[in-house]
């Protein structure tokens, strides 16, 4: 057992912190919010140059083959520095998906440009009324001659407004709720029958609702064998979930630091408000929740790479369930302890609050993940 980082990981963390905390931060965040797709090309190029975009990708396709822990080190720093660029939704999720299910030709075509920052990808998997269960998948793919015809609706596909290629889950067999029968397809967002409704997501990032109306794709758009895409989709979503949990941890810790500092400088009744026991205990409760959350993130970032799929599922879902609640608590208390200034857009605290509120829902809410934990077989 060893909870410490290797010296390479310490270096990775230092450079990620330097970029996110010194080079990014609130001002750059606000500036990025105004850009199309909330994407700063310069920042993205920098992230590619550092090798971070290659980190989640396999070495066989121009990646660095980084571990879950390596990825979590990056995303924790991105969370603390309010970095908006779509690292998880645009690289970790589609990158893992292609690495797990893509053919050699698909990987060689898509992953090197992804690693170099020249390609934007998005995965459209969530649907209306699916409670973010990826096995729901009511979108249909009908075999038609040499290809498929795809119809259905996807909800809130993160980074889709920026993407040159969408990866879409669609059912070619079975019925809603079954993993078997789900296939994955590459779809050109400009193709006939594809309609994107792009929007900004509360707290940062962009997404689109996607309507697929009789979209024709050729057989080579299929990623992995027909009807067998679910295992890869589920695993890739677990990688993305573990990564956003670490990102949320970074934001939670930033809120603790801001709040502790504020309690020391804000004076009322002739004294720093940090001298009031009610507020002290609230701050301590935030701290304790963050330490518990850190334990879960450390655990999940290791177990997400486990060869045992149930071990991976349990670790990731337990972590998302825990952090969904803990992050809401930390964010609400940080706003409360800041008083009036906490509910304004002038202070970063309110923006962290938005981000953590969105985090609670994205990649499955607490109830969805608790139910997943409850449904897993128990080790003897």
């Amino acid at each position: 057992m060893d909870f410490s980082y290797s010296s390479e990981q310490e270096l990775l963390r230092d450079s990620a912190n330097k970029f996110a905390l010194k080079g990014y931060g609130f001002d750059r965040y606000k500036e990025t919010l105004t850009r199309p797709g909330q994407l700063n090309a310069e920042a993205w190029a920098q992230m590619a140059e550092f090798g971070w975009l290659a980190l989640p990708l396999p070495e066989s396709a121009g990646g660095l083959g980084g571990s879950g822990t390596d990825i979590a080190l990056i995303t924790e720093a991105l969370g603390a520095g309010m970095v908006l660029e779509p690292f998880v939704s645009g690289v970790v999720l589609p990158g893992k998906l292609l690495a797990l299910a893509g053919s050699e030709a698909q990987q060689q075509r898509l992953l090197p440009p992804l690693a170099e920052g020249g390609l934007q990808l998005a995965v459209a998997w969530a649907e209306p009324s699916d409670r973010q269960n990826p096995a729901h998948c009511a979108t249909e793919a009908k075999a038609d001659g040499q290809g498929y015809v795809i119809s259905g609706r996807k909800l809130c596909a993160l980074n889709a407004p920026n993407a040159q290629t969408l990866i879409v889950s669609a059912r070619s067999a079975g019925s809603a709720g079954e993993g078997a029968g789900i296939s994955l397809f590459e779809i050109d967002p400009a193709a006939s029958g594809v309609t994107l409704t792009p929007y900004a997501v509360m707290g940062g990032g962009t997404a689109a609702d996607v309507v697929l109306d009789q979209v024709r794709v050729s057989a080579d758009a299929l990623i992995g064998p027909a009807g067998e895409g679910f295992a890869a989709l589920e695993a890739a979503l677990d990688h993305a979930t573990a990564a956003v949990c670490a990102q949320a941890l970074g934001a939670m810790n930033a809120l603790l630091e801001r709040t502790a500092a504020y309690l020391k400088v804000r004076k009322q009744f002739g004294t720093a408000i940090g001298n009031f026991q009610v507020l002290q205990h609230r701050l301590v409760d935030m701290f304790i929740e963050i330490e518990q959350s850190r334990s879960m993130v450390l655990m999940a970032s290791v177990r997400v790479d486990s060869a045992d799929a149930d071990e991976r599922r349990r670790a990731v879902s337990a972590t998302k369930a825990y952090l969904a609640q803990a992050s809401k608590f930390v964010a609400q208390q940080a706003v409360q302890l800041h008083g009036g200034i906490g509910v304004t857009e002038e202070l970063d605290v309110g923006h962290f609050f938005r981000q953590l509120t969105a985090f609670g829902t994205l990649y499955g809410d607490r109830e969805r993940h608790l139910d997943r934990v409850a449904g897993l077989p128990r080790a003897a």
Binding site: M1, S4, S6, Q280, F287, E291, Q292, S301, R303, D371
Partner: protein, 385 residues
Amino acid sequence: MDLDFSPEDQAFREEVRAWMRANVPPKAGPEIGLPSHLETQAAWERKLGKQGWLAYNWPTEYGGPGWTATQRYIFDTERAAAGAPVGSPFGLAMLGPVLMSFGTPEQKARYLPPIAAGEVFWCQGYSEPGSGSDLASLKTTAVRDGDHYVVNGQKIWTTQAHWASYIFCLCRTNTEVPKQQGISFLLIDMKTPGLEIRPIMTIDGHHHLNEIFLSDVRVPAENLVGKEGQGWTIAKFLLTHERTAIAGVSDSLYQMDELRSAVASDPSLAEDPLVRRRLAALEVDLMALEYTNLRTLDRVAKGQPPGPESSGLKVKGAEMQQAISEAQVELGGLSALPWMSDDAAGHDVFRSATQRYNFLRASSIYGGTNEIQKNVLAKLLLGAG
């Protein structure tokens, strides 16, 4: 980053598990986990003592097995998983380490071996009727008279005093100095004339606690531990000892398994989605506590001081024990209401649940209340003042 125990530690786990399987009586009764029966507890401690595993956190020179921090953790987890009670902590976890650090060679030779062998119980004389969270305000006095101290005062919440042969006691030896500096640490034979015990029944229906009255109790001066006035330093040393054990994670893991098997035995619970979600929520909270505990263990095993993660362990550990026992009571429903009945219908876990739930309300009170723990943590986060 590696979450698994080494092959050597896993082999050690198998060894302990096999021994527990062979030596823990199957289901000694609902009181298991809450030591309330002297004979059961004493027999168990003597058995562990013979094996050399009772003082499992002690080095070999004092009669312990000399295990690493990781081995100690594994041992305690397996002990709990077997449904066996924890050893009485007052001699083993509290006085033992104090004497090793502050005791004279004579004190060590006299008091440590019987503790490691499971032949003697100790109790702790800290709290007083007027001194709970503000422990340093304690008023029991010890006045030097020749070769003796003469002790007068009153102690309260004294767990297992009715089993104990000795009490280690904080007494005021100097009233002229700031309150923390006038306290001394004395060892007192419970049979000394002038020492009287009155039982206090707790809401679990058992006799754990006592009140102790000391009237002109004469204590040999050689029973002073450390120097006169060093008592507060020793008390603080004791509070920071063995931080990985304080969260009670091992016992919570066991009680969670117990709850799970009780729920599985009743389809009306096992198939209720809200019950399943509640169990999952408890499991997730317990996982967070367990890994926080393991982070601390990892630091201790590497010879580093416990990190900031360890400070919240007592608070979260107590809340966890309380939440699991609360679920045992609430999910047990009517099966949890029969009071100390061996015959009533219902799963064992539910039948004993109210006693555990009632008892464990104390877990956020003893050893420094959760509110006091938060005061201490707030100083760390905000700096003094």
